[in-house]
């Protein structure tokens, strides 16, 4: 990364403010009934927060491609773990010649 590109303070406070706002938002939304969408919304908000922290607080926005790849790799592998494990759970029916 280019160490000397020190981010201005307003970026930090901006991110901080957005994070707080999103926290409030997600709590508020949790009490509104959107049916099955509630889960999706909560996860989307959490992901946005994570992206904000990773890009600005953790300086990935200014980092080299290599660092970005490593930052992504953990999440990518996590998706492998989730995806393939769930591929079992979501298809676990007893196979039987029902009429």
């Amino acid at each position: 990364m280019s160490d000397h590109d020190v981010l201005p303070l307003r970026v930090y406070f901006g991110v901080f403010g957005t994070l707080l706002a999103l926290t409030g938002l997600t709590t508020w939304i949790a009490y509104q009934d959107f049916g099955n969408l509630n889960t999706t919304i909560a996860l989307v908000i959490a992901s946005i927060k994570v992206v904000l922290v990773v890009l600005w607080f953790m300086h990935v926005k200014q980092s080299s491609g290599l660092v970005r790849i490593f930052a992504l790799s953990g999440f990518f592998w996590l998706m492998i773990l989730f995806g393939y494990t769930l591929s079992d759970y979501f298809t676990r029916t007893s196979v039987r010649g029902w009429e």
């Binding site: 029916t93 007893s94 196979v95 039987r96 010649g97 029902w98 009429e99």
Partner: protein, 314 residues
């Protein structure tokens, strides 16, 4: 020690031959490739050994060769995959008709119950030429029901039912092993499968006292545990009518659908709250701790019989 010695296991079920065919095919593939590689190693080693006075030739590689020796193994493994997936699918697809046997594994024995109510421990008599369907669970840890001569094996997992079926093609006595490590006496959790001619099987049944058959026993339990107060056909509207439901889809209150199978029935009895059927209240109490694994199997046998129409046992 040489009496029963052989290199190849006996094949005594309808699937055994199909499994052996894949196996033998793979043996040939293995011999071919191991032969190929060893021959190449040997020939090169002799031909190009140092001291024969030639300079090594610096070859970088060859795209054509790389493609060739990726593609050939790839085709072979894809072929093997398709073949064995097909056999696997058939081994795992339980036929609709067959003799239903209940199996409970526990440290360290097998308990088996015939549809006629005959009970056995560590041995199972079955007729030749008929599909036998095992519905299995465990009272403690994971076990595994393994009959080498039939080439079938299935883990027996506590908390759920697994199924296994086979159709024996040869009379005789075969090993039954527990193939999943289950503690101290894992290696003593063995038994035998005795395959009899159908007539001999009938004779065996007749010669042994039968307990109450599972459907009957289940019916009695169904009364005694007061299931009928809510579930009796046409009774109140408290609980859903169970007749004719087995194998159907059930809609849950939260919109999910579940297939009414053994695992679902078991869960409904032990953890009625985990799935609430659409249109009903959370009324049903849990029977956790009040019924044994065997009894649950009997209840399920009874519930099943309400769907297959043979609730009046012969």
């Amino acid at each position: 020690m040489f009496e029963d010695f052989s290199f190849f296991p006996e094949a005594a079920s309808t699937v055994a031959g199909r499994v052996d065919a894949i196996y033998l095919f793979l043996v040939v593939v293995t011999i071919f490739f191991v032969g190929l590689i060893s021959a190449a190693l040997l020939i090169f080693s002799v031909r190009y050994r140092r001291g024969r006075g030639h300079a090594p030739e610096q070859v970088h590689g060859s795209i054509a060769l790389e493609i060739l020796w990726s593609a050939i193994p790839l085709l072979i493994v894809l072929f093997v995959f398709g073949w064995s997936a097909k056999v696997f699918f058939d081994v795992r697809t339980v036929p609709t008709e067959g003799m239903e046997v209940f199996v409970t594994g526990k440290q360290w024995m097998w308990k088996l119950q015939h549809p006629t109510g005959h009970r056995e421990i560590n041995s199972l008599h079955v007729p030749k030429g008929q599909a036998v369907i095992l519905t299995m669970t465990s009272e403690d840890v994971i076990h595994d029901f393994y009959v080498p001569a039939f080439r079938v094996k299935q883990d027996v997992v506590p908390g759920m039912y697994s199924q296994l079926w086979f159709e024996a093609t040869k009379t005789g006595t075969y090993h039954l092993f527990c193939a999943e490590y289950c503690g101290t006496k894992h290696s003593q959790m063995i038994g035998e499968i005795v395959v009899l001619e159908p007539a001999a099987y009938e004779a065996w049944l007749a010669g042994n006292p039968a307990g109450r058959n599972p459907v009957e026993a289940g019916k009695v339990l169904f009364e005694n545990l007061r299931c009928a107060t809510c579930h009796a056909a046409g009774s109140g509207q408290r609980g859903p009518d169970l007749a004719g439901r087995f194998g159907e889809q059930v809609r849950m209150r939260d919109g999910q659908t579940v297939i009414f199978d053994e695992n679902y029935a078991r869960q409904s009895i032990l953890e009625p709250k985990s799935h609430i059927v659409a249109g009903f209240e959370e009324l049903m109490p849990t029977y956790e701790g009040q019924v044994s694994e065997d009894e649950i199997l009997q209840l399920i046998a009874y519930i099943k019989s309400l769907s297959t129409g043979d609730e009046e046992p012969k």
